[in-house]
Symmetry: C2
Subunit: 559 residues, 2 copies
C-alpha cells in the first residue's frame, strides 16, 4: 500500500493556510451574507496519488474549510448567513475522496475523520453560539461526506431538477459508515425516523424531490430556475430568526494574524506555547505561558479595547497556538504517546484575566474569544494521546490554564512552598466539554458537594489543599518527584497505544451524552472498527475495490 499519509520531518502537514489564496473554495461577501462555494481543484491534493474529482475532499480541502469557518467568525462578524454551495454546476460535493482513503493508513483515516468532524462541529458552533447561520444550498449531487457536510448546516436546500439527490452510499457501495457524523446527525439532529434512516443509508442512489422533504432529509426543494433566489430568501429568514436581537452593522472584524512558529527538528516555539518532542522516548512536552499584566489591562478596558488589540491578544493568540500545536502533534508525530503539560506565569494575573474576560463577554469579540478557547479545549479532550499535567516549581495552573490540568488524564502536583493552583470564573462555566459539563463537574461527578465548595473560591491552593479539593491525582514531595514522575512516564509509554486510546476515550467523558459526544465516542469507534476489517480494507474489501470492475468478497460472519 502506498501511504499517502507518509509524513516526515521534512514534509509535515501544516494547518495554517494562506487565507488570501484558498485553492478549493471561493468566498464572496454581500453585507450580512457570505457565499462559500466549494470548487475543489482536482489537481491539488494534499499528497500525491489521487485526484480530487467531483468536489471530493481530502485533509487539505478541509484544512481550508476549517480556516474559513474560523476566520468568518473573527474577521467577518457582520455576516449573519453563510450559504454553503458548490461552484460545480452538477455536483454539490461527492464526499471524502475514496482513492485517498484507499491509499491511506488506518491512523491517517482516523485522524482525517476526527479533524473533519471537528470542523463540522465548528460550523454548528458558529450557527448556534455566534448566530452566524450556515445553510447548505445543494445545487447538485450531494453524496456521502457531502451530505454529512450539509447536515452540519442549520438548513438544507436541494435543487429539484429530477436528478440532484442527497445520499449516504457508504454502506452499500464502500462497506464503511457515513462516519463523519452522518448516522448520528440523521437520527439525532434531524430526527429522521430510524427505519427510514435504514432505507436511506442503504440506498446508494439516494433520495430526491418531495420524498427528501417528507423524510426530513432536506428542509426545502426549489426548482433550478429559482434556486438561488429562493435559497437567499429562506436563508435570510432563518438567519433573521436566529439573530433577531442583533444590531446589524456595529461589528468590525479582527484579522487573524499569522502564528509563524519557529520550527526546529525537535520542537515548535510559538510566542506563548512551546511544543518539544523526543521520538526515542515517544514523549512530548507542551508548555503554555499565561497572560501578561498588559493583556489583562487591555481586557479590563472592555470588548472594544480587546478588539482593537487584535489577534495578538494573549486570550486569542495563545489558544490558537495551542490548537496548532495539538494538530501538529496529532498528524505529524503519531508515535508520541504521552504529552507532559506545564504552564508558566502568575496565578493572580490569570485569575484577573479570566475575570475581565467574563465581564467583557457581552461584546461579540470577547464572546468569540471565549468560544474559541472552549473549542481548543475540546480539541484537547479529543486528542488520543495520554496527557500528564505537571504542577511543579514555577507552575501556573489557574483558571483557563487549570482547565489543561483538568483535561489531562492525570495531574501531578509538587508539595512545595509557592507551588499553587487557583480557580477562576472560567472553571465554573463558559468552557463546556462535549458532555455539556464543566471539566470540574466531570471530574467530580460523584461528589457534587466538592464542586459546590469550589464555587467562588479564589484563594490559591497548595498541593495539600488542591488534593483535598479533588483536583490532584498524585501529590509528591521534592524527594520523590523526579523518580516517581519518571517511572509514571516510562510505565505509560510501555503500554499498548490502542488500549490507551480506548481507555482514555471511555474515562474522559462520564456523564451526559450529546450528539457531538455520540459522534466522537460511538460513531467514530464503530467506523474505526470497520476501517480495519478485511470486508472494507482487505485486498478484496469494498473500499479497496471501489471503482474497479471486481466485486468485493465478504466474510459473511455477522459480528
Amino acid at each position: 500500500m502506498q501511504d499517502v499519509a507518509h509524513v516526515s520531518a521534512a514534509h509535515p502537514v501544516e494547518f495554517e493556510v494562506d487565507a488570501s489564496a484558498y485553492r478549493h473554495w471561493n468566498i464572496t461577501y454581500d453585507g450580512a451574507l457570505a457565499r462559500v462555494a466549494m470548487n475543489v481543484d482536482a489537481a491539488a491534493p494534499l499528497r500525491e496519488g489521487y485526484e480530487l474529482k467531483l468536489n471530493s475532499y481530502d485533509l487539505g480541502v478541509d484544512i481550508e474549510l476549517a480556516d474559513i469557518v474560523r476566520r468568518m467568525r473573527f474577521e467577518h462578524p457582520e455576516v449573519r448567513t453563510v450559504v454553503l454551495t458548490s461552484g460545480n454546476d452538477r455536483v454539490f460535493c461527492a464526499g471524502a475522496n475514496i482513492h485517498m482513503l484507499g491509499l491511506s493508513t488506518h491512523a491517517w483515516k482516523v485522524n482525517f475523520c476526527k479533524f473533519t468532524n471537528e470542523t463540522r462541529c465548528e460550523i454548528e458552533d458558529a450557527t448556534e453560539s455566534s448566530k452566524q447561520v450556515w445553510v447548505a444550498a445543494c445545487n447538485g449531487t450531494t453524496a456521502g461526506g457531502g451530505y454529512e457536510l450539509a447536515m452540519a448546516c442549520k438548513e438544507i436546500y436541494l435543487q429539484d431538477d429530477g436528478n440532484s439527490a442527497v445520499s449516504l452510499p457508504e454502506v452499500p457501495l464502500l462497506g464503511v459508515l457515513p462516519g463523519t457524523g452522518g448516522l448520528t446527525r440523521l437520527v439525532d439532529k434531524r430526527k429522521v425516523r430510524r427505519d427510514r434512516a435504514d432505507v436511506f443509508s442503504t440506498t446508494a442512489e439516494g433520495i430526491r424531490g418531495k420524498k427528501a422533504v417528507q423524510w426530513n432529509l432536506v428542509d426545502a426543494i426549489f426548482p433550478r430556475s429559482k434556486f438561488d433566489e429562493k435559497v437567499l430568501e429562506r436563508a435570510k429568514a432563518v438567519a433573521d430568526a436566529a439573530s433577531k436581537d442583533l444590531a446589524p452593522g456595529t461589528r468590525k472584524g479582527v484579522v487573524l494574524g499569522k502564528l509563524a512558529p519557529e520550527v526546529g527538528p525537535s520542537g515548535r516555539q510559538y510566542r506563548h506555547v512551546s511544543l518539544t518532542w523526543d521520538d526515542t522516548t515517544r514523549t512530548a512536552s507542551l508548555t503554555v505561558a499565561g497572560p501578561s499584566a498588559a493583556d489583562v489591562r487591555t481586557i479590563e478596558q472592555g470588548g472594544e479595547a480587546m478588539r482593537e488589540a487584535g489577534s495578538d491578544l494573549w486570550s486569542l493568540r495563545a489558544w490558537r497556538e495551542l490548537d496548532d500545536a495539538l494538530l501538529h502533534l496529532r498528524v505529524n508525530h503519531m508515535k508520541v504517546g504521552l504529552v507532559t503539560v506545564r504552564t508558566t506565569g502568575d496565578l493572580a494575573t490569570i485569575q484577573a484575566h479570566d475575570a475581565a474576560l467574563v465581564k467583557a463577554r457581552d461584546h461579540w469579540y470577547a464572546r468569540e474569544v471565549l468560544l474559541h478557547m472552549a473549542r481548543v479545549l475540546r480539541r484537547f479532550d479529543n486528542t488520543s494521546r495520554s496527557f500528564f499535567a505537571f504542577g511543579d516549581a514555577g507552575t501556573a495552573f489557574a483558571g483557563c490554564l487549570l482547565e489543561l490540568a483538568l483535561a489531562s488524564d492525570r495531574f501531578y502536583m509538587l508539595e512545595q512552598d509557592g507551588v499553587q493552583v487557583a480557580m477562576s470564573e472560567l472553571n465554573e462555566g463558559g468552557l463546556p466539554m462535549h458532555n455539556t459539563l464543566t471539566r470540574l463537574q466531570t471530574r467530580l461527578l460523584g461528589t457534587p458537594d466538592q464542586v459546590e465548595a469550589l464555587v467562588g473560591k479564589r484563594e490559591p491552593m497548595d498541593a495539600e489543599a488542591a488534593d483535598d479539593a479533588g483536583l490532584v491525582t498524585v501529590r509528591l514531595d521534592d524527594i520523590d518527584w523526579d523518580d516517581d514522575t519518571r517511572i509514571a512516564i516510562e510505565e505509560r509509554s510501555s503500554m499498548s497505544p490502542d488500549a490507551l486510546t480506548g481507555m482514555e476515550q471511555n474515562l474522559r467523558f462520564p456523564g451526559p451524552e450529546t450528539p457531538d459526544s455520540k459522534i466522537y465516542a460511538r460513531l467514530s469507534a464503530w467506523q474505526n472498527w470497520i476501517f480495519i476489517r478485511p470486508n472494507a480494507t482487505g485486498p478484496a474489501g469494498a473500499l479497496t475495490l471501489y471503482g474497479r470492475p471486481e466485486r468485493p468478497h465478504f466474510d459473511w460472519q455477522r459480528v
Copy 2:
C-alpha cells in the same frame, strides 16, 4: 489459530442448562438471603483447549450465571439479598479466561462479551426493578472481569487481608479494555474520579484496603476474621433499605420449566416461536404466535392466578422461547445476516392480554413477567442482525408483538383487507429500551405529536392508517409484495455485514444515553476495534503473548 468457537450443526451452544446440576456455582438459601458462590470447575470449559483456573470464566460459566439470575427472580421471589462470593479461598474471580480469549475468533469474543454484558445488566435489573439486591463479597483477588462482575452489584465488600485487591489489569497486561462494562461502570455508575480511574486502570496489581474505599472502588472493607459476619449484616441492611415496602414471606416462586424445542437441521420449533434458517441465502425466519383466549382469561383473574398457571403461561413462555431463539441465532448461525420477523394470532386477544397484564402488575409475578418481556426485547434491540418485520396476510402485530416490528430495522406492511396492526398499553410504557424511551418514542423522536396521537388508540389500523401514524416503513399492495420484499432481502444480504452492524447500532438508539447504552454502543465498539488490532491479537500482541515469556511488540502509532 485453533478456534474454540467452532460451532457446528452437530455441536451448537445451548443456553438452557440443568438448574439442578450447575458445574461452576454453588447456591444456598436462608430465607430472604441467598448465597451464590463461584466455584469454577477448571476441567469443564465449554470448548476444549483451555482450563478455567482461578475462578476464571468462559461462556459456559456465564450461561449458568444468567440462568441463576433469572431463576432467582422467578423461583425464589422470597430472596431479597443475593451475596455473590467465591468458593475459592484466595480468589474471588480472575475474570474472563485469557487462554479462551486467545484461542477465540473475533466474532466469538464479541458475542461472548455481549452475552456477559447482558447478564451483568440483568443483575442490575434484578437489583433495581425486582428489589432482589445483589452484593459482591470479594473474599480474595478480584481481577478484570471479576471486578466488572462485582461492579454490577449494588455494593462491593472487599476482604482486608493485606493481599486481596480489586484490579482492572486489562490495559497494562493484555492490551485490551475492561470491556464488560468495566470502564463505564467505574466512572458512570460508581463515579470514580476520572483521573483516579486512569491510575487504577493502568495499575496491574490493583488497589486494596482503605484506598480502595477512599476511591470508591469498593463500599467497605472487613477483616478476614469478621468478613462473613460483616457482609451479612451490611447486605441485609442494604436489602432492607431497598425493599422496605415489601411484605416478606408472601411470595411463592414459579419454577421455570424446560422449553425443549424440537430441533431440526434447519429450524427450531418451540411451542409459540418458530425459527428457521437457510444457510445458502444467509437468512432466517422468526415467527411468534400470540396468546390464546385461555391465556388471557387466566391473566384477567389476576397475578395469583397467573402464578398458579406457572411458567407455561404464554406471557412468560413465548418470550423465554424468543430469547432462546435469539441467542441460538447469534452464536450458532453467525452467517445469517437477515431475519424476517412475523407474528400470528388475533389482534384483539393480544390487546386484551396486554391490558390484563398491565392491570395485574401490582402482583410481583405479573411484574416479573413484564420485566422479562422487556429484557428479551432489549436482547432483540442488541442483536447484530438485520431485522425486517413482515406484516402480511395473517399478521398479528399488536401490543407487545408490535414491539417486534418497532424494534426491527424496517416494517413492511401489506395493503389488504384484514391486514391490520394495533396498539396496546405496552406500546406506551413498561417495555423500555436501553435509551429509556419506548420503541414508539424512539421511532417518532422527531414527531412527538405523532406519539401523542397514538396514546390510548386501540382501534386496529390498516396499512394506510398505520403508515400515516408513522409505524410502517414500506407499504405494498399484493401485486408488488413478493417482488419488492424479495429484492429488499437480496439487496440487504449482499451488503458488508460489518458496515450493517455499525450502521444498525448507530440508527437503532437515537435519543438519550444511559450507562447501559454506553456499555453496548461505545465501550463495546472500542473493545471490538482493539480486539482486531495487531497490538492485542497479532502474533506479537499482548493478548496473544499473555502468560508466555516473550514481551509483546507494539506498533507505537497512536490512533
